[in-house]
Structures are given as structure tokens and as C-alpha cells.
Amino acid sequence: MKEIKIFARAGQGAITTAAILGEALFHENKFSYAFPHFGAARMGAPMNAFLRFDQKPIRLRSQIYNPDYIIIIDPTLIESEKCFDNLKNQGKAVVALRENTKIPSRDDITISSLPAEQIALDIIGKPFANTILLGAFAKATGEVKLDSITKAVGERFKNKPEILEKNIEAVKKGYSSV
């Protein structure tokens, strides 16, 4: 079983990120349990989404405290949310970079960072980093195939053709950027 913790602010698509990833893993016959941790969250409040996955159904229902992987959608949370503190030894982090983003140094983990918001602005026209980070996650971890992510994104946005193609392109760009 592997565990992922996603750091974002409410409204940045953390739950969508977990949902697309769970769907992609489902296409590879894996079982996931994706879930949000809700505070009484307003738009902009720090929040987390989680995903556990395995070859067999997930039974464990607690939150995730020592993730194998972290995805940081909003890098302004790195310090305040102590995003890197509980990442497992040999864990991997996928981080959306902004100017001035400081990433704590840890020798025992692998960090893949990319200016995901800028890429999103260029491709989608809005600063939604999540589909780019999903592509980057697929490449950085090897846990899920690029095709599975694009298929899941396709299903997610099937009723929104105007943003579907751009998000597929965003996933591919994220994949090739790390």
C-alpha cells in the first residue's frame, strides 16, 4: 500500500487531483481510497486531500500521517503546513514552484519541482496547477502510466470539451517537465 498527501488551498483542486489519480489507478486495476480532510474550509484556507492505493481493496480509514509521496499544489504552504516533515524516508515530492519558493533540504527524499502554475497559465490560461502536477507525478514516481492519467482526465472533463484538450496537454507537459 502506498499513501499520498496533497497540500493545497480550498479551491485549488486538491480533491479533483486525488479523484483523477484514483480513477487513473482504477484503469490499472488498482484499488484506491481518495478522501479530503475538511476543516470548516473557506476558499483559500489550507486543506489536504489524501489517496491510498494498493493491489487489493483499501480498508484503512484513518488520515495519512507519513506519506510515501506528497504533492504540493500551493508552495506558500510549505513552511506553515510543514509539508516535508513527515514525508517518508526515500519518499518523493512533486512541487509546484513559484518565484522565491524555498524547499527544505533533505538528502533522503527525491524532489521534482516545476513552475506548474506558469505552465498552466500558458496552456490553460488559468493558474490551475493540478493536471500538470499529475503528469509530473506519473513521471517522477512511476506509480501510474501517463496514458491512465490522460484517460482519467478525459473522463473528468468529458462534458467540458473547451478545457479537455488543454488539460490533456497540461498533463503531458507536466510529464515532460520533470
Binding site: 486525488a18 484514483g22 481510497y33 480498508r59 480509514r61 484513518s62
Partner: protein
């Protein structure tokens, strides 16, 4: 068809498959997504039901009381304060012998305001005469909704059914779920054909004055019916398994209990976490198991007693507390077990406090070493008044 799907969406799909004719509900977190999906189905023309906008849960329950009495399969769902507000009407629905389907997205009860999960809300109305069944995961929620209709609508039963699902954990969690086909559900669940209803050609009244000469007999009738439900649930579970190939519908589930010296007892989603810990401790040679309670009302006394009869230590996990007494499940079970079995009661997971693997490990350790009727787990001593500190 197997899908990766959000719990609320899956429960709305299951409800739709049961072809409800009337839906009345008032939105409350964490139940909201269930009603949103059902409303969308109706708006899109995918569900032929009447959706009634109401101004409160009391009205929602009153609407489904009326529509079910008129002979229509009726559905509502709620949580927490909403359920408490419904409670007056729920006693009436049960007393009028109307098999309304209700999903309770379990959530803590105010004050203080808390939107997160525990099971205090459904436990608070356990005496209303509803059938209460608890789901461990989203698949079981789907299965219990479909089977619940058949249990409640059995002409010998005619009682409301409440499917209890842990708020957020199951309503907002997403996992792989088999959503059955309409054909299979139609094959399993016949149209609602009540033995009595409001009918101008055969006028009758529901819920009239029952004076001392008859009231006791109405209570006795519900009590005897609920005793019969203990036979009907496994029977429906068998029929469900024949059609859908899953043995999820029953009174209890025994997980590695047959040779267990220590058995934990719980209801709902925490059972999944406990199963993982049971496996880890079994690998270390510990004889440990889980008894999962699916049916809380009616309570399967004989089955529970039998499942625990060989245990030395029993640890009961309650996500509720009957303040001034003990956890509800503890009281229920302690009263039917022989003295030789050591029984511990634990209160955990209140108001969304996470039940971690380490929480379950602590519960197991205490179960083996101590004997407490009501031990609060993972208390934050720093928040306690000095006279209440336990260490």
C-alpha cells in the same frame, strides 16, 4: 458496473436504482451530495420521482411520511441536527408502520457545533422503531440501501429503514464500487405494493389516538416485528447474494473470531481500520478478531453472544456516548455476556477525531490488560480541567 466513485454519488445511484417515487430532503453537511445527485438525476430526466423542496428536516420527514402512506416508495436523508429535528416524525413513521428509506450520514451533534463524523446522531434515535443498519465501506452502503428497501417493505415488517454511513469517511471518500444494473435491482426488488395505503376507495386513517386500551399493543407489535426482522435480514441477505454475488447484507460479520482470545466489536467504517490491525497482529501470532455489528436495531443478541462466547477479552468501540452511562454498543453487549468474559468499553472518534492504527493498538492493549466500562481513547490531557485529568 465497477466504477471509481464518490460515496455520496454511489449512494444516490443505489437509491435511484430502487426507483423512489418521492424524495424530500433538506441539505446538511455531510449528507448534501447525496441529495444533490438525486436532484440532478430528476432534473436530467433520469429518475422519475417527485422532488419536494422543504424548509426543514421536520418537513422532509413529514413529506415522506405522507407520500409513503399514500403508497409511494419514499426517500430522505440527513445528518446530525437534521436527524434530531426529524426525530418527532420518525417515531410517527415507525408507529404508522411506513417503510420509508432514510440514509443517515453520521455526524456529531451540537453543541459545540461540529460537522465531523461520529455516530451520536443515529444512536440518539435508536428507540424510534426504525431498523438501523451500518455500512463499513461504500460498497456496503450501496448494498444495504438496495437490500434495506426489501427488508422494510416486507409486508410482515412495514418499518422504516435507516442506513447509517460515516459522514465524510464514506460520503466524501472515493473508492472502487460495483453499481449494479437496473435489471438486477428490478429482479431483486419488486415495485412497492403495500398491504395498506391512503386510498379514497378504501378510506383509512393513520396515527390516530391510541388510548391506554390499545397503545401498548402497538408497541408490542413493533417489538415482535423487529424480532422477526432478525430472521428476515439474513434471508434477504441470501437473496441479495444470489443475485449480486456479495454477502454484505447480514446481522453481523465475524472477522477471524473463531479462535480469537481478544475480540474487538465495532460498527461502521472503523471496522476496516480494525481489520488491518487484526491482520498485522495475527502476523505477530496474536489471536485477535473483530465482530462487526451491521444491524444495531433490531439488535442480534443471540448472534453476538455466540460470536463472543469463546473470547477471553472483548473490547467494544463506540463512536457515541450515552452521557451519564456508557457507549451504546457497550451497554448492549455487556448485558448479554457471561461474567467470565472481560468486557471493556471504549469511546473513540467523537466529532471527527481520527481513529488511527495506533488508537486501535491502544484499545487492544487496554482490552487485554484492564477492565473499564467507558474509557475515552486519545484524550488530550492538556484540554482537561485539572480535576478531570487522568494522568
Amino acid at each position: 458496473m465497477r466504477r471509481f466513485i464518490e460515496g455520496s454519488h454511489a449512494m444516490a445511484e443505489a437509491t435511484k436504482l430502487c426507483r423512489p417515487e418521492v424524495i424530500a430532503a433538506y441539505p446538511i453537511t455531510p449528507q448534501t451530495h447525496i441529495v444533490e445527485h438525486l436532484s440532478q438525476f430528476i432534473a436530467d430526466g433520469n429518475l422519475n420521482a417527485k422532488s419536494i423542496n422543504v424548509e426543514s428536516e421536520h418537513s422532509a420527514a413529514s413529506c415522506v411520511l405522507g407520500s409513503q402512506a399514500a403508497g409511494s416508495r419514499s426517500f430522505t436523508c440527513t445528518s446530525s441536527q437534521g436527524l434530531i429535528l426529524m426525530s418527532e416524525v420518525l417515531f410517527c413513521i415507525a408507529g404508522m408502520r411506513l417503510p420509508v428509506m432514510l440514509i443517515c450520514a453520521n455526524r456529531a451533534v451540537s453543541a459545540p457545533i461540529n460537522i465531523w463524523n461520529d455516530q451520536q446522531d443515529s444512536i440518539a434515535i435508536r428507540d424510534a422503531g426504525l431498523i438501523q443498519i451500518y455500512a463499513e465501506n461504500i460498497q456496503e452502503a450501496v448494498d444495504l440501501i438496495i437490500a434495506g428497501h426489501k427488508i422494510g417493505e416486507n409486508p410482515k415488517v412495514m418499518l422504516p429503514v435507516m442506513v447509517c454511513v460515516d459522514g465524510f469517511i464514506l460520503t466524501h471518500g472515493m473508492e472502487v464500487v460495483d453499481i449494479p444494473s437496473q435489471d438486477k435491482v428490478d429482479n431483486f426488488l419488486p415495485p412497492y405494493n403495500p398491504p395498506y395505503k391512503l386510498d379514497i376507495n378504501n378510506p383509512m386513517s393513520f396515527g390516530l389516538l391510541g388510548d391506554p386500551s390499545v397503545y401498548t399493543e402497538t408497541r408490542y407489535a413493533i417489538q415482535k416485528t423487529l424480532e422477526d426482522v432478525l430472521q428476515i435480514i439474513p434471508k434477504v441477505g441470501g437473496e441479495f447474494n444470489d443475485i449480486f454475488g456479495r454477502s454484505s447484507v447480514g446481522l453481523i460479520e465475524e472477522y477471524k473470531t473463531s479462535d480469537a482470545e481478544t475480540i474487538l466489536v465495532a460498527m461502521g467504517s472503523v471496522c476496516g481500520t480494525i481489520k488491518d490491525i487484526v491482520d498485522i497482529q495475527r502476523n505477530k501470532g496474536k489471536k485477535i478478531g473483530l465482530l462487526k455489528i451491521i444491524a444495531y436495531r433490531p439488535f442480534p443478541q443471540a448472534e453476538v453472544k455466540k460470536a463472543l462466547s469463546q473470547a477471553k477479552n472483548v473490547g467494544i468501540v463506540d463512536k457515541n456516548i450515552s452521557l451519564g452511562s456508557n457507549g451504546a454498543l457497550y451497554s448492549e453487549i455487556k448485558s448479554i455476556l457471561p461474567e467470565k468474559i472481560k468486557v471493556n468499553g471504549f469511546v473513540a472518534g467523537l466529532g471527527g477525531r481520527d481513529i488511527k492504527p495506533s488508537t486501535v493498538e491502544k484499545i487492544i492493549e487496554s482490552t487485554e490488560k484492564e477492565e473499564n466500562p467507558c474509557k475515552f481513547v486519545d484524550l488530550n490531557e492538556e484540554l482537561l480541567w485539572k480535576e478531570f485529568k487522568t494522568v
